[in-house]
Structures are given as C-alpha cells and as structure tokens.
Symmetry: none
Subunit: 227 residues, 2 copies
C-alpha cells in the first residue's frame, strides 16, 4: 500500500497524538494545522492521501472545503474524513452528502481511524491509475505533466484539468455545462463560448491542425468527447 501525507485540521487531542504515532510508524507523513486558508494550494502541492477535518473546530467553514475538494478532480485523490463530537445524525448525513468519504465520531480509536484511512485509500488508489495513456498522449496526474510521443507539452492549469477530465472517460460526451462544473467549479460563472476557446487552445497544443480531430471531437449541439 502506498504511503503518503496526511493533513490534519484540528488541534491535538490525546487520540490525535496517538494517531500521529501510529501513522508515522506506518510510514505516513503528517501535517497538522489549525489554519485552513490556502488549503487549495496546500493540497495541490502536497497531494495528501488523506485529509482529516475537525468539525468542532472549523464548523461551517468545513462545508465549503468539502465541496471544493469534491469538485476538483485533482484533489479528489485524497480521502476526506470528518471528525465531530456531535453525534447528530443529520450532521453526519450532511457531511457525507457534501462529499466526505467518512464521518467519525469523537472520541475515536486511533487504530480504527488508521484502518479507515487505509480502507478509503485502497478504494481510491485502485481503479484509475495515476497515468492515463491515450494514443500517443500520456497524462501523468502526479507529475501534472502531459507528453505527446514522449515529448512534454506545456499546459496551463485549466488546460490540464480540461484534458484530464475529457481523457479520464474516453468516448464519454461532456456537455459544456458539465465541463464548466468540473473544471471551473459550481459557483463560478463563465460563458459557454469560453469553453470553446479553451478547447481550441488545447487542440492547438496537442497538435491538431486538420479535421476530423484526432483527439477531441465536437458533438454538435451536445458537447465534446475525447476519442
């Protein structure tokens, strides 16, 4: 099993200190903080395999974090676990529906927490591998890099997310609405035309000059599809 970084948002209780030791003895690297600003950058940089958020400490702020993490396909690689001493059922349901992978009551057992982190990671790591290979295109999610016939292609942040989305489900047709939600996020409002522009720029960098497109196909009236 692959080890990784674990972000813990919340202060150190006795259980969390035990958990810390357990995780470290298992080969995980820990990062604990009580400041949730700049979470997005942090997650993108460190690519943690798990994120623990203490609801008692962060409360409502945590919900927006859940949806951010849920929407971003790069960040989704992390197991998102919520902690709370509040046993209320509706809170648990809310958390799970907001995108969390698990909801654990405090006080919790460190050993069980470790087992849960492993169980979720197991799910995430299997299935979609870290590299996507389509034709002569190779997309490396961890390195955040794209190669065509071995030669690296420089893509901007949006271009990468767009390509990754399309390539992650070949032949699936994505509507512009879907693309906007997955690449830009639910709240951001950006024109449909803008999607076209980014598709064009992406096609350019992939080296598409002629019709029919070799990689990205336009489905008139519907959306785009990666061949």
């Amino acid at each position: 099993m692959e080890k990784g970084i674990v972000h813990i948002f919340g202060n150190g209780t006795s259980a969390s200190i035990q958990l810390e030791h357990l995780l470290e003895s298992e080969g995980y690297v820990l990062q604990q903080t009580s400041n949730m600003d700049g979470l997005q950058e942090m997650v993108l940089r460190d690519k943690p395999s798990a994120i623990l958020i203490d609801l008692d400490e962060f409360g409502d702020r945590a919900w927006s974090v859940c949806s951010e993490l849920k929407d971003d396909m790069v960040m989704r690689k992390a197991a998102l676990i919520l902690l709370s001493s509040n046993e209320d059922e509706s809170l648990r349901v809310k958390g799970l529906e907001a995108g969390a992978d698990d909801f654990v009551a405090k006080p919790y057992s460190p050993r069980e927490m470790l087992a849960r982190i492993k169980a979720i990671s197991r799910r995430i790591s299997t299935g979609d591998g870290k590299k996507i290979r389509v034709k002569d295109i190779e997309i490396d999610l961890d390195e955040h890099r794209v190669r065509k016939a071995g030669k690296p292609i420089d893509l901007t942040y949006i271009q990468f997310k767009l390509l990754y989305l399309l390539a992650s489900r070949r032949n699936n047709v994505f509507s512009r609405k879907e693309i906007l939600e997955k690449v830009w996020g639910k709240k951001v409002y950006v024109t449909n035309r803008t999607v076209d522009v980014h598709i064009k720029r992406l096609r350019e960098k992939l080296g598409e000059y002629k019709y029919p497109s070799q990689y990205i196909e336009t489905i008139h009236g519907t959306g785009y599809r990666f061949l």
Copy 2:
C-alpha cells in the same frame, strides 16, 4: 448518481426495513437473503452497487467473503459494508483490514447508511453507463452514440433524443403530441409534419429502405412505435 442493486445479508431489523424503503425510494433495487452460499455467482450476475453484511448473523463466515470480494476485480465494484452490534475496536479494525469499505455499528441510522452507501459508490463509480440494446441497435447515453451492428451512426441532437424516446419503451405507441412534448419540450410549438420529417431522417440513418419498417413502425392515425 448511478443506482443499482443492493444485496443485504441479514434478517430484517426495524432499521433495515426503514433502510429498505429509503433505498427503494432512491431508485435502488434490493435483494435480501440470509443464505450466503453462492454469493460469488450472485454478485457476478447482479453486479450490485453495495453489499451489506450483518456480522452478528454470519460471524466468521463473513471474513472469507471479504477477502473473496477484495480479490476479485469484478466484485470490487460493489461497496462492501459490515454491520455489527459488537462495538469492539479490534473487530472494526479487522473488518476494515479484511477489505470492507465501511463498518457501521448497530443500531444504525437508515439515512446515514444511505449517505454512506452513496459516499462509497461515488468513489467507485466508473460509469459503465446506461445502454439500450434493441435488435442490432445499441444506444449509449453517456457516449451519446448509436451503433448499428457495432458500426457508429452519426445522429443529430434531435434525432438522438427521438430515437432514445422511442427505444426506451419498445412497442409503446407514441403520439406526435407526446413526441413533441418529450423531445422538444412543452412550450415549443412545432408542427406535426416536422415530427414526420425527423422520423424520416432517423429511418434513413438507421438504414431503412423498404417496407415494412424494420425499426420504426407507423401506426396510422395514431403515431409511431419502435419494434
């Protein structure tokens, strides 16, 4: 979110009956049994999206099931959730390490269980999506693509919706009024004749040259039907 079948191994407690109703109202199909023999065949046949196993009832027999499911790539598509009234930490850890995706204590909240099933399914979902197969025609909703004898047929937006409507309920006769409402929407006003035109173009692309029609039958004075 993709719905599916849920296998429940264990007898009906009051919570499980509530859960049953919840799942059904969400569009899931349930299969409950207290016999675990032939599990492998059952799972392979039904491809459930979740499997709930009551440890109180099955005890040690459950562990072998966990590892079977864990090892089989096909079966891994299902969310495996263990239930137990035994709060013992080591049991929970054992279950999770054996390959279960979640471990829930009894008595459990049906709504939370539903949320957990969804949370896990979200991770697993690979979107081998909805397909309709009629004769040698195959309609793939996700790929927004139609195949005849394996060969792709290019349909326009309206043609696709029209075909999908007709094929979704074979042998059902759709009046032009009904077709207009379902394909064009309630407010749009379009002539009946236009429906004919689209039927004609659709028939053309499906490769219908001679009478009687192989796919779309005209019911004089009434409407159309997909055979």
